[in-house]
């Protein structure tokens, strides 16, 4: 692409560490965040990495990390800045809404006049586990969109991507500007270097209120599903195989 300037937005989310026992808050419809650690969503880290690689290849440009939520999301934006993003935008909201359309509308308002060549999202976040925000933003902005990308090539104002399907893949072509959501396998996200972390502290981070519309999708209740009942050890070594076969046939009835 030579020395063509690219401008890329990466929409990122602060998500809780999943390796914990979650607790439900007093309202019965949200999680108690006490003691829970948060970090940049894995898929979003791969999206940041993809944006940085495209900017590096182009030789010049700007990568903007955007996140919606409470003040703490600024830590998440700083992480993207420490990886190499140039500046951040924090869209302030008391909490991150569950309604993806509400989030998408607020992000689209911010992105609309940004002049971005590419807008990246992670494929989904494991907390709300909906994976709708990227394509919704594309639709609101009237932009081409390719989801769940595991391979990407951008040149001369066009892109080619590989999408992961169930047991198959698609090769997809699209013009820029476009919205892309990133799947695992596209890249390995870089760790912020010490130098990157120091530099991130001085990078601009703009703070503005999020314009959220009325949600049409509301969590009424959260519950902690019962753990699976502990099973049994049928035996040791291949001597246990006949008993396992018997159980699969007569008890589980799956053979």
């Amino acid at each position: 692409m030579g020395a063509q300037r690219v401008k890329i937005a990466v929409c990122i989310k602060r998500v809780p560490d999943m390796d914990v026992r979650f607790k439900i808050a007093g309202d019965g419809a949200s999680l108690d965040e006490t003691g829970v650690k948060f970090d940049l969503n894995d898929f979003d880290a791969w999206a940041v990495e993809a944006a940085l690689q495209i900017k590096d290849k182009a030789g010049q440009g700007e990568v903007v990390a955007i996140s919606l939520g409470p003040t703490q999301v600024q830590e998440t934006i700083r992480k993207a800045l420490s990886m190499g993003a140039d500046r951040g935008v924090h869209l302030q909201a008391d909490r991150i809404p569950f309604d993806g359309f509400s989030i998408a509308s607020a992000l689209a308002t911010e992105l609309k006049d940004g002049g971005y060549d590419l807008i990246f999202f992670g494929k989904l976040s494991p907390d709300s586990s909906n994976g709708v925000t990227g394509p919704m933003v594309a639709e609101i902005l009237g932009l081409p969109c390719v989801t769940a990308i595991s391979k990407l090539d951008i040149s001369d104002g066009r892109g080619t991507a590989k999408r992961e399907l169930e047991g198959a893949q698609e090769i997809v072509e699209f013009p820029l500007p476009a919205v892309l959501t990133i799947d695992e396998g596209l890249n390995t996200a870089r760790y912020p270097s010490l130098k990157g972390i120091m530099a991130a502290k001085k990078k601009p981070l703009e703070i503005k209120p999020a314009t959220l519309n009325t949600p049409q999708v509301t969590i009424e209740k959260l519950e902690l599903p019962q753990d699976r009942a502990a099973g049994r050890i049928v035996g040791e070594g291949s001597a246990a195989v006949p008993e396992l076969i018997r159980l699969l046939q007569t008890e589980a009835k799956v053979l």
């Binding site: 081409p144 989801t147 049409q216 195989v241």
Partner: protein
């Protein structure tokens, strides 16, 4: 009375199993209110021949949109035709799948209509003027009950949650014209690379045999493949450690960042059971674990475990399964 819309997902000219799941779920919703199920089938020339199956599973009307420009998945033109039908049809709810195609398409349609969407839905019902769904969150550790107020409410079902059920209805075919020329869409699928011929997909296989680091090397995955082959109806999965090491493609990965599966039978071979892996398979109906470490977390979720050397146990199990399935 409320009519329900179902998206009949197809790929490469064939209906996908999730199309029948969507119609089955839509039928249940429509029956609760005495309404009709309208299934939309979009594809290249010849796709109309698939309409009959949709009628057999409960579609009163099959809206067929056939065009050269739909031979490959066409996200923009499909969005246009689906959104137009949903706007004019007065549907109470619209049922999609949380498949790669459903995840791509349903959010676009929802945004175009300005309505809400919940994906990875494991149960859906109509409740007064709301559509109420169950939606697992936080890698399945939290279950949300979500109410949806938009009309239509868009839901994308978790695959394998609603088993396709025969429930024959008229399946009256109505041809639907594309909106504009589908061949001029900006996003173009140039090529569909299908997996191995006759190879079952993880989302559709009743049995999954998955391997982890305990297999020690890529070439030892043949033990897993042979066990899957013995079942005759099994797909092969893997842990993230294994796909990160390139032993298997990323599309085989089961877990938090990969595929969420719930087969009838899940056999974990040499898998310790990291929380990220359990997230992808804990809703399987029966889980079998084979691992040398009796304290491995996988045994906490497994219905049946065998402790020991996978290189000794798996070939014996493969032979025993072949024997048990003789005559199938």
């Amino acid at each position: 009375m409320a009519n329900i819309f179902a998206f009949a997902e197809a790929r490469g000219g064939e209906l996908r199993k999730v199309a029948l799941e969507n119609v089955t779920a839509a039928r249940k919703l429509a029956d609760a209110t005495g309404g009709e199920v309208h299934a939309l089938l979009v594809g290249g020339p010849g796709i109309a021949s698939k309409a009959e199956q949709l009628g057999q599973h409960g579609a009163d009307v099959v809206l067929v949109c056939e065009h050269d420009g739909f031979t490959q998945y066409n996200p923009e033109a499909t969005t246009a035709v689906a959104a137009e039908r949903m706007q004019s049809g007065g549907y109470r709810a619209a049922v999609f799948s949380t498949s790669a195609q459903g995840r791509d398409l349903a959010p676009r349609i929802a945004a175009r209509l300005g309505v809400g969407l919940v994906t990875d839905v494991t149960a859906v019902e109509l409740n007064g003027d709301k559509v109420v769904v169950k939606h697992p969150m936080n890698i399945g550790k939290v279950m949300a009950t979500v109410s949806m107020s938009g009309t239509p409410a868009l839901v994308a079902l978790r695959p394998n949650t609603y088993a396709p059920a025969q429930n024959a209805k008229a399946g009256r075919v109505e041809n639907v014209a594309p909106i504009g020329d589908p061949s001029t869409a900006r996003v173009v699928v140039k090529e569909l690379i299908q997996g191995g011929k006759g190879k079952l997909d993880l989302a559709e296989a009743p049995v999954i045999v998955a391997g982890g680091r305990g297999l020690k090397a890529a070439e030892n995955f043949k033990l897993v493949e042979e066990l899957a082959d013995a079942f005759g109806n099994a797909a092969v999965g893997a842990t993230r450690a294994v796909t990160d090491d390139g032993w298997r493609p990323h599309s085989d990965q089961i877990g938090q960042t990969g595929r969420l599966v719930s087969p009838e039978l899940y056999i974990a071979v040499g898998i310790s059971g990291a929380v990220q892996h359990l997230a992808g398979m804990r809703t399987s109906k029966t889980i079998v674990a084979i691992n040398k470490d009796k304290d491995a977390p996988i045994f906490k979720v497994a219905d049946y475990g065998i402790v020991g050397d996978v290189f000794e146990i798996v070939p014996a199990l493969t032979a025993a399964v072949r024997e048990a399935r003789k005559g199938h």
